[in-house]
């Protein structure tokens, strides 16, 4: 009760953002998660640089993710914290490089879903009427499709079509990145549905607010209203759901890569690493580190992202699921 009183007294002075930040700071798991994620990102970025700087040394050689060696299937040891795999490659290094891919796909995919979802929902909510009806019906239809079928078809079709473009065919870098691009688009394309619904809901409730009415009375065009009033207010909801979409896309990418449909060799993501580990489950030799190490990193990252998202949601006091 007393805390609330203290908050109330600063009500006039504090912006909503400051209040949210204070609430967030009190959420210990969310704070820890932010540190964890920041640390992870730092390591992921620093690792390739470190390898480059130490290039040529035996340490760097042993830890280059592509480097095949004769030390196959070593359990975790001081030289190889996460052990080695079938080709003698250092698993820690592969996990860190794989993190780049997994997180990149997660964030960009979430951004793609954000762009599509926000536009879709905002248009549906602000234009209303028949357009709203049609747009939301399409969302309903898409919701009823088993997404995996859609994803498989999308990935294979897009993959082949994109490869035919001459620019892609003859550029070595673009060619490698095609797969990534397809995943960005494909995964984003299946994740925007909830975002669209939520944004539409927000827009609808905002439209009937007094300040929007006032704006309209003053003669502002619908586009202007959209841009200046609605979208900024939708922002908080969007950010929260963005943070929660990232882990779900990272998970989905891992799932697809586990099936062999996502990241293709020689690139690796957490999903492909875990998939390699699963193939090694047998009663003869238990190479547990091949699953446990990438799996633990994946789970920790997802946990951290979820805590962060939960924390943001609590801080901004956003309701609804």
């Amino acid at each position: 009760m007393s805390e609330e009183k203290a908050d109330r007294s600063q009500l006039i002075a504090d912006s909503p953002a400051k209040r949210a930040w204070r609430r967030f700071r009190r959420n210990r798991p969310a704070l820890l998660s932010t540190w964890f994620l920041a640390g992870l990102l730092a390591i992921i970025v620093a690792w390739p640089l470190t390898l480059k700087i130490a290039h040529g040394s035996s340490w760097a050689k042993a830890h280059a993710p592509e480097q095949l060696s004769d030390a196959q299937f070593q359990p975790p040891s001081p030289q190889h914290w996460f052990g080695t795999d079938e080709h003698g490659r250092d698993v820690l290094s592969r996990v860190l490089y794989g993190a780049q891919i997994s997180l990149l796909v997660g964030f960009v995919g979430a951004l793609v879903s954000l762009v599509i979802g926000v536009l879709w929902g905002a248009i549906a909510g602000s234009v209303g009427g028949r357009v709203d009806d049609i747009l939301m019906r399409i969302v309903d239809v898409l919701y009823s499709l088993p997404s995996i079928i859609f994803v498989i078809v999308l990935l294979t079709t897009l993959g082949e079509k994109l490869k035919q473009i001459p620019a892609v065919k003859h550029s070595p870098t673009l060619g490698k990145e095609v797969r990534l691009l397809i995943l960005f688009v494909g995964l984003g394309a299946i994740s925007w549905l909830t975002m669209a619904r939520i944004v539409r809901g927000q827009v609808l409730s905002l439209r009937s607010r007094p300040f929007v009415d006032a704006s309209r009375a003053l003669g502002a065009s619908p586009l202007r209203i959209l841009a200046r009033h609605i979208i900024p207010n939708v922002f908080s909801v969007v950010i929260v759901y963005l943070t929660l979409t990232v882990p779900s896309i990272v998970l989905y990418e891992s799932f697809l890569s586990f099936l062999g449909l996502g990241i293709q060799p020689p690139m690796a993501s957490w999903g492909t690493l875990i998939s390699e580990g699963v193939e090694q489950i047998n009663a003869i030799r238990i190479y547990w580190w091949l699953i446990v190490c990438p799996g633990a990193v994946l789970v920790s990252t997802l946990l951290a992202l979820n805590f962060l998202g939960d924390g943001l949601r609590d801080a901004w006091d956003v309701k609804g699921n």
Binding site: V141, I152, V153, T157, V278, L302
Partner: protein, 304 residues
């Protein structure tokens, strides 16, 4: 009346879904009849494609498909040519349903109590530990937990059979692996629902009236608190019942899940569209059931 209208909407919705899926799978590269050991003459493949009308324009093939559908004929599987789509579904669906129901039972049986405890003991250690566990369950994918369970319980300590679906002992690990994620989700949703209802005005009013704490919780709060879970149960059941590809593959369970993925990969057009329709139908029916349950549980909800 409302529900009848929703049911009526189902037909055009399914038609649209069938058209969308049909178009999508035909767009993808690769065809069902390419083999490693190809026929000596390419003419043979053409004959095969002609036999299944794959050489006709897509709209014509689609009309033919819909025509057959009207007679309840979902067509032959293009990959397993001795079987019809209906055959395969009839064989695999009961298995996936059994697995799905067991997983559902696990998810509810673990998730509801966990959600309840974390809500009722909010802020205390039970909440911290329980919420963490629930979130952890959501973050461990099936393809990580399943192999670990196998490693532990069938290889390291040989307590259970390693795969297949022959005896009740086979039905212990797969539902746990499949249901774990959902148990976490259910726990989190139920906790949120409970927290929301416990704050509501009519609860404070009831409390003021002096009703016993426990009775209060059980009768009023839970009925409303379970709404988000009920709402989620629809899509959750649809996913569970159509089989989880990962779990069924890892445990070698002869369910339908494998076909969802493999039919799209094999370019088995009829199978893919058939399964998409099955999934969509299940989802729509389950969502209707969920809305119905909503109506029963929350007296404020009225459909017109």
């Amino acid at each position: 009346m409302y529900f009848l209208r929703r049911l009526a909407y189902m037909i055009p919705l399914l038609l649209v879904i069938s058209a969308a899926t049909f178009a999508l799978v035909h767009l993808a590269p690769g065809g069902p009849f390419d083999k490693e050991h190809a026929p000596a003459s390419p003419q043979i493949k053409h004959n095969l494609e002609a036999k299944y009308h794959l050489d006709e324009p897509i709209w014509k093939q689609y009309l033919r498909y819909i025509g057959n559908l009207a007679h309840g004929d979902f067509g032959p599987s293009l990959k397993y040519r001795d079987h019809s789509v209906t055959d395969i579904v009839r064989q695999g669906l009961p298995v996936s349903m059994l697995l799905g129901c067991l997983a559902f039972g696990f998810a509810m049986g673990v998730g509801l109590p966990l959600g309840f405890i974390t809500a009722v003991r909010r802020g205390r250690w039970q909440d911290h530990v329980g919420s963490f566990l629930a979130l952890l369950a959501v973050c461990i994918p099936g393809f990580v937990i399943a192999p670990l369970l196998i490693l532990a319980f069938t290889i390291k300590w040989q307590l259970l059979p390693v795969a297949l679906w022959e005896s009740p002992a086979n039905a212990i690990l797969p539902p746990i692996a499949l249901g774990l994620y959902f148990s976490g989700k259910v726990a989190r949703l139920f906790r949120e629902g409970m927290l929301n209802t416990m704050q509501m005005e009519f609860i404070t009013a009831a409390r003021a009236k002096g009703l016993g704490e426990n009775l209060l919780l059980f009768r009023h709060a839970v009925r409303l608190a379970v709404l988000p879970v009920v709402s989620y149960a629809g899509p959750m059941l649809a996913d569970l019942l159509t089989g989880s590809f990962v779990i069924e593959t890892i445990f070698q369970i002869p369910g339908l899940g494998v076909f969802f993925i493999n039919s799209a990969l094999n370019k088995d057009y009829t199978m893919t569209v058939g399964l998409a329709l099955l999934y969509a139908t299940l989802l729509i029916v389950l969502n209707l059931a969920v809305d119905f349950a909503y109506m029963l549980l929350d007296p404020r909800v009225k459909y017109e």
